[in-house]
């Protein structure tokens, strides 16, 4: 009995020793952590490779970029709680405002530091339906009809879900002549048709495409196209509503973290590279609308349907206001959504 126990202790000690030596070996190269929202996995997998190559050629330094993905609000919370992100690339500006507000790790005017509201690419909200569109869903008002099952994530945790919600609200205002009370009723009718709220956009997509729940998925444009790519155009199709919202997913340096890691230069270059021809090309390739379409591949640009878009500033007076009115505790969303 004893030798066995001693041997086990020895193995444990060796494992501990090897664990302790791990971080030391990693310090010869620069490391960046990009904390991002749910549907950007494929984009950043590609972009990180391109940037590492570019940075190696330019400076000779090896940079290893790690990724963390999840619902945008949840990711912001994780950064506030101490996840050491050098850069944050989230779904909406409010989540980064929260990081600035609560952790003080970046200045409050972060969004003015990069061009185009710090959003190197945009997206919008479209519908993904099953092939042949059996329920005949054409526009937002079809979502409120009884008997249509709508899949969207939870606006409390998901950035995409908040864009979905606001796009529907904007449509309602536009079609009813600006009546807020009627818009609220309209949203309540849509959410009555939602059987399950996942915490992030990717969770909702798997619910719709993999588990086969629902008639229509409210999705990021890029997420809709990606699903068709992954599962085949014989299974799903994208429906473009008459009106949608211009979604601006912003990116930022998390100043204090980058300073501590000594990665400020490389992190800044990383974000700038998103605006470069290569970055814009990759964005378009992964179905994000590039800010400078002239830099992207024309064939990729041709895939984006024409949609009339409104901005959050036009209709809701910016994220701070929209968040307070609609998604804060006791806001409009809490009033209209009753879990079943």
């Amino acid at each position: 009995m004893f030798p066995m126990i001693f041997r086990r202790g020895l193995v444990g000690a060796m494992l501990l020793a090897s664990l302790a030596s791990l971080p030391a070996a990693a310090q010869t190269e620069k490391a960046l952590l990009n904390v991002s929202y749910d549907p950007t996995r494929e984009l950043y997998a590609d972009f990180n490779n391109a940037f590492s190559k570019y940075w190696k050629e330019k400076t000779g330094e090896v940079v290893k970029i790690s990724q963390s993905h999840g619902g945008s609000g949840k990711q912001a919370r994780t950064i506030i709680d101490g996840l050491e992100a050098d850069v944050a690339t989230l779904a909406l500006a409010y989540d980064i405002d929260e990081i600035a507000e609560r952790s003080g790790k970046l200045p409050k005017d972060w969004q003015t530091r990069l061009p185009n509201n710090s959003s190197p690419y945009t997206s919008t909200i479209v519908f993904l339906v099953r092939k042949g569109n059996p329920k005949g869903i054409k526009d937002w008002n079809d979502l409120a009809k009884p008997g249509v099952s709508v899949i969207t994530p939870n606006p409390k945790t998901s950035g995409g879900a908040r864009w979905n919600y606001l796009a529907a609200w904007g449509y309602a205002l536009k079609t009813n002549g600006g009546d807020e009370a009627k818009a609220k009723e309209f949203l309540a009718a849509i959410f009555k048709n939602v059987p399950v709220l996942d915490s992030g956009a990717r969770g909702s997509t798997t619910t719709f495409v993999q588990r086969g729940l629902g008639d229509v998925l409210l999705a990021w444009e890029n997420e809709g196209f990606l699903s068709i790519n992954e599962f085949g155009p014989d299974k799903f199709e994208v429906v473009v509503p008459s009106l949608s919202i211009l979604a601006e997913p912003p990116v930022t340096l998390v100043d204090e973290v980058a300073k501590k890691h000594g990665t400020t230069d490389v992190a800044k270059a990383y974000l700038d590279y998103l605006y470069s021809p290569e970055g814009q090309k990759l964005a378009a390739k992964h179905y994000y609308r590039p800010r400078k379409p002239e830099l992207a591949d024309p064939a990729d640009n041709a895939r984006f349907p024409n949609v009339t878009l409104f901005t959050i500033d036009d209709v809701f007076g910016g994220w701070q206001k929209a968040q307070k009115t609609h998604f804060a505790d006791g806001g409009t969303f809490d009033e209209i959504y009753q879990p079943k």
Binding site: L15, D38, D81
Partner: protein, 295 residues
């Protein structure tokens, strides 16, 4: 397993004394109903998912399966899972033995409270367990600013994952040993001391051999949970690919990337771990029973 099943279904031909006597025999339909019910439950809830994992994992062939498991992020997840278990299990082993010793062999104030509190990790939701660590060690938490100033990372790093794992696997060894040691009492140890053995000798030569099967059983259960834990670890992980993902978290990530074959390939590792655990557990039970029979 098939052998066990058939003996369950057909082994009753000879029947027990109860079944042979008309007075105590259940009607045949009751017997078959109960058998059918339990077997179909077993098939639907246990066997089917287990088979599904392996079928899905191998859907795209062995090549994809091997690639999915040898991918750097998957290997990193395996390594982190092993590290977490390699730290959590020995610590809980030491804690479990000492707690069981204290409770079974000594009288002290607050003993009942301690016995109850050991079970706390079983009764609290793993998500809450994870959040507790975020509240204590997070940047906005109690020790957050101190840890930040000293550049010590606990949550969203390996230490947090290890802490969460220790927390959720805390009771396994102690739970297994307390009733065993209580039933054995102190007589054998007292006899050893009277015969001149030192405390340590008594522990190695008397106590340990008496509890070794229970201890092993606890360690195996503890290890299975340590490697399989999702909820608490998910909260403190930060989900950095290749760095803070354990096997269960890696399964979720790969699944969310539409890489279903790879997700199930990694899941099959966890399923194999479960099967291996069951086999070990059965062996230990048989050994323990034969030891009791000999004694």
């Amino acid at each position: 397993m098939a052998g066990a099943l058939s003996s369950l279904a057909f082994g009753s031909v000879g029947g027990s004394a109860f079944e042979r006597r008309a007075a105590t025999r259940d009607p045949a339909w009751v017997k078959w109903l109960i058998l059918g019910l339990s077997l179909s439950f077993f098939a639907i809830f246990i066997l089917l998912p287990l088979i599904a994992v392996f079928v899905e994992a191998l859907r795209k062939g062995w090549g994809t399966y091997i690639t999915a498991l040898s991918e750097p992020d998957a290997l990193a997840a395996v390594r982190l899972t092993l590290i977490a278990a390699a730290i959590a299990v020995p610590l809980n082993l030491i804690f479990g033995v000492s707690a069981a010793w204290a409770i079974a062999k000594y009288q002290f104030r607050g003993k009942n409270a301690l016995t109850t509190l050991i079970d706390l990790p079983f009764s609290v939701s793993p998500v809450v367990a994870g959040l507790v660590f975020v509240l204590v060690f997070g940047a906005q938490g109690w020790f957050g600013s101190w840890l930040g100033d000293h550049n010590i990372r606990i949550i969203f790093a390996v230490p947090g994952i290890v802490l969460a794992t220790i927390f959720v696997t805390f009771p396994f060894v102690a739970r297994e040993l307390i009733p065993l040691m209580e039933s054995q009492g102190r007589e054998e140890e007292e006899a050893a001391i009277v015969l001149g053995a030192s405390g340590l000798q008594t522990f190695w030569r008397v106590t340990l051999p008496n509890i070794k099967w229970g201890l092993l059983y606890g360690v195996i259960l503890c290890n299975a949970r340590a490697m399989g834990e999702f909820g608490a670890v998910s909260v403190v992980s930060g989900h950095i690919r290749g760095q803070t993902n354990t096997l269960p978290l890696h399964v979720e990530i790969v699944y969310n990337e539409y890489n279903f074959a790879a997700a199930f390939a990694v899941a099959s590792l966890l399923a194999l771990l479960a099967l291996f655990t069951l086999i070990l557990k059965t062996i230990i039970e048989v050994r323990a029973a034969s030891q009791v029979a000999k004694a």
